[in-house]
Symmetry: C4
């Protein structure tokens, strides 16, 4: 029931998938959107799916259902492409998270992807000190070494909920590999420092560099949406009223 909408017929060159979805402090989403902005990435494809929440939002000035967006970019220093991925929301159900992850991985593999990277949050408890740094976890042991070499602390136990963990974990079952970079945070709507920290690590690992000076300024325009309509189902539950 999902479908991909291709916007660009160009062939990708060994693209590394780099994803950041809406979530706690929007660490991953801000990071990916900044890369899209700075690298002047081109929209490559959209994934529409009935597994998203039943919401409609404005994109530009028109109404759209929720989707996942795939952008391609080639930083000057690299000989391969980046496939930058973000979405308007995560799937509405646990099953939906599995389905969207599988569709994303199949799509990426078809276009030559071998490595899948997600960026997200590592939430600290209220009393834990924020030593700004990046935590990580990977699908293969050799990637752990790579992460540690770049100053990433490997997580030790714990679980990751949703596509940020499913993408690298299920990459392995498709013959790919993956890891996630988790910026430590106390939460909130945005944590720009955490986004900056994982971007620095990402660039060091992949071997490219974009100017991060504008990140704080870019964050000011991070879209902030308020819901217009509550679910009428909830509404009916409250009022015990149906027609």
């Amino acid at each position: 029931m999902s479908h991909f909408n291709y916007l660009d017929g160009s062939k990708l060159k060994n693209p590394v998938l780099v994803a950041g979805f809406p979530g706690i402090a929007n660490i991953g989403k801000l990071a990916v959107e900044y890369l899209i902005h700075r690298l002047e990435a081109t929209k490559f494809a959209e994934l529409y799916s009935e597994y998203f929440p039943e919401w409609t939002i404005q994109e530009g000035d028109t109404l759209k259902t929720l989707k996942m967006d795939f952008f391609r970019a080639r930083p000057p220093a690299l000989k391969h492409d980046l496939l930058l991925v973000t979405s308007d929301a995560q799937a509405a159900t646990p099953l939906g998270q599995y389905v969207l992850t599988g569709e994303t991985l199949d799509f990426a593999k078809k276009h030559g992807t071998e490595t899948v990277i997600t960026m997200a949050a590592y939430v600290l408890s209220q009393n834990e000190p924020v030593n700004k740094r990046v935590m990580g976890a990977a699908s293969h042991s050799e990637l752990n070494e790579l992460l540690e070499k770049h100053g990433v602390s490997l997580i030790n136990g714990g679980m990751i909920v949703g596509m940020n963990g499913l993408l690298p974990a299920l990459a392995a079952s498709r013959g790919m590999r993956g890891f996630c970079l988790l910026g430590t945070t106390k939460g909130g709507l945005l944590d720009v420092e955490a986004s900056e920290a994982i971007l620095r690590v990402l660039q060091a690992i992949l071997g490219f560099e974009v100017d991060l000076q504008e990140l704080h300024q870019h964050a000011l325009y991070f879209p902030k949406l308020k819901p217009i309509l509550k679910s009428s189902r909830e509404f009916e539950d409250e009022l015990s009223y149906i027609r």
Copy 2:
């Protein structure tokens, strides 16, 4: 698992779909029901679906499961039909909202529909002043101009939950177009002024007119249903009792 029940074999002429579902202040549902009443619309078809809540209600004096109702009408000033759509409830799950929207759009397209309009609520926060007016959003930029020309303020960000947004948004992916008219409201069971405001805009856009004098009186008979039986599932959860 859904099925359409046709009640009328007549052919529709380029029908514009105008929908209003149960929801906050029942703004859209009251508006559509008033049009059905004033235009002496004819029931054209019913859509039954297992995606509705598992409720039964009385229609006339007999028990019916929940359904969507499609009426056809031709206001004297128009050379095309209206396909007036309402329902007893919205779907029970997010996936169900997508499914019912898709089935409604396929049905409408099959009968010649090119434009899909939904009417619903735009909820103001408690302290926001109620400047009675109509907000809107559309599937195509050129429709935004049309809306603004008729005094509709375009929403700027925010999201629409459920079929009121999905219908116009997914119309585009089927080669149709659509928009929604949202009456500002503080909520409650009914907001007759909001219904009236969107009806005035709808008529101006489509080029027909019905007498709105009776709308307040008609609202007095808006059906008010109380639940008889709570879900026995909830009941069992409370009592930890199963047989």
Copy 3:
């Protein structure tokens, strides 16, 4: 994913389906179980389904998953059979309620059923006086007359949640007809008077009689089950702990 387990190869004669499921005050379930007891009904079939809750209970001294039970009986005064139906629980989801209802109706129709009757509760608000009586609703207008002739007050608006309403309502779409008898109640675990009231009406309508003297005594043995194990999912949610 559901399947019927036949326990008796005998042919039913125009059976009237009479169902009572677990629910508020177990009015319908007690009524059906008393009929099964007094009429010495024979177990005819069982319906197992993955749409039931994921619970296991003891039947006799062995573990069973939840199921629906179909018994056949022939009261001396009748020239047709009764198909007495009850279950251990209702379905776990709204969709499941539709599915189990459809499977039950298809099964009944296959065995010659033309009339489907459900017995359940009509919950009064705390301040409403309990005038012990029976409310009703039907799939066809002519059945309303029959109900009223036997002292049943027709409900006027309101909705019925779950299979008690879906069975008679969806009977019509399969060429059958049906009604429900709702005993007024304030709730609680059992309301024996309400069960008795609907049994009196049922017998008058169908034209048979069983001794209701033992009903109160029978109710003392109505099974009362306590849960042993809470869902481990809930448990994990509470403790944020997974392995």
Copy 4:
């Protein structure tokens, strides 16, 4: 959407399935993990499924989605194998519990299993005295006798939620048989005494013995995981914020 990953091509000899899943006081899971440890069991297969929660965890030092693990072992005293089963979590939905149970039973039957045993908790209310002992229930009456002969008190009414009950109950419908051993507990994260009690009964019934001295020490290393990332869906619900 589930799939088995075989890690060992060896043929099992009439394996008795012994399962313990995460749950209250992790009584069953600890018991199975201790058997795996003491019997130096070999990983035989893994079951991955989209019906698990959408979580990722570390196994060793790499990211994995949730799964069910099947180990084979042959205690010296036995002439048949044990198929030791545990999982990282139970299924995310009631339907998922049925599906994973069915897949596990089909897998076990294919490998020659005739008997299915689950180990779990029997939760006492706060005021009930903890007479450390083992409760049980079975798919067939003759198994009840076996259980009682080994000091197991049969449960009398009540229900079992999830795979601990579904596995033995649905074994019967596949021509197998099964029972569950429930250690009485007040709850908590671990109840080592309860695990020990069911292991003593299990060994007596199956006719093998492992040293239980190390059980308490082994329990100290029972994995304790904290979630890193809350569901971003919940997060969005709280903040009414989507992109």
